[in-house]
Symmetry: C2
Subunit: 190 residues, 2 copies
């Protein structure tokens, strides 16, 4: 447990690796892969994405004030990585990857049909932090693949969809389940 | 791929499950477990934690303007869960869990020695969003367990430390490595 000092940097992991879709017409639909994302408030449900101003999606999201966070899976890992490397200025990512844009409940930005869960977001505020602008957003609707809905309880089983994580430069599936929230006080260990 | 509408909610996963340590004197050292955390800017390196105002750590961090994000591991899963369920108003979490507070480089908040990586943070802004306040923070120093430093390159091997993820109510280790960032364009598939 001997510690070595390191320079300040980005070492908070594992993170989700999501495909964020944006645009308000099929001609400008785009996808950007983002790991700088997370939940910032439970009630109202809010989340953020941080995007470099030079990215093509930055100007689309700034103009429309909307986007969709598409949860990715192990089987979407290739598309997830590819959308993080390529620019929508050069290529139509939906067409090249044969991903299906689908209409959401509320926002004009398309859902990615192949994702098990789509989180429709509306931008409330933008914070300019340096290399990245943070889009502080409200979750306005959620679209869930019925395949992962437990028929007896009606609840969505996200972890059955094999969600993708990004940790320090690498993509991983989830491993062994260690316990549920609160497992430490259900045991008699304490 | 048939989608069912769900109410807006918090379904963005997997997330890190970190232990956040705070306080400026041994008497008030505390630990709170947080999944509403992430990186918000690469340069300068910045991250956030969102905390309910009623939590004991909220008043400590509001007063001191500092905290440490301690990356957790599979072997710290029990302590991670326990620190998320118990309150520092009732119990000294360091003592009860036999965790070791260690002096950081810059902040007065203690590092958790048993964590493989400690991210020292200083609060720059607080955004009141509803159930949670978001502490927008700058990373001011990092402390890395030398055990996970590659001796030939000097780089920190976070994924060798078996970092812990939290996904939709459950804790997981990482599973199979799928690829590194950019793997999709290194293949000849496209």
């Amino acid at each position: 447990m001997s510690k070595v000092p390191f320079k300040p940097g980005n070492l908070l992991y594992p993170l989700p690796a999501v495909m964020v879709s944006c645009g308000d017409e099929p001609d400008n639909f785009n996808i950007i892969t983002i790991a700088w994302t997370g939940t910032i408030c439970s009630d109202p449900p809010m989340c953020y994405i941080s995007v470099r101003p030079e990215r093509y999606s930055h100007e689309i999201i700034s103009r429309t004030g909307e986007f969709v966070i598409n949860i990715t899976t192990e089987s979407l890992a290739f598309a997830t990585d590819w959308c993080g490397v390529k620019s929508g200025r050069d290529v139509n990512k939906f067409k090249t990857l044969s991903l299906t844009p689908e209409k959401g409940q509320i926002v004009k930005a398309p859902l990615i049909a192949e994702s098990p869960l789509n989180i429709e977001c509306r931008v409330k505020d933008v914070k300019r932090l340096g290399s990245h602008d943070m889009f502080i957003s409200e979750v306005v609707a959620i679209d869930a693949d019925e395949k992962f809905i437990d028929k007896s309880t009606g609840s969505f089983q996200l972890n059955h969809a094999q969600p993708l994580a990004y940790s320090h430069g690498k993509y991983y599936g989830l491993g062994e389940k260690i316990g549920g929230f609160g497992f430490s006080v259900k045991k008699k260990k304490h």
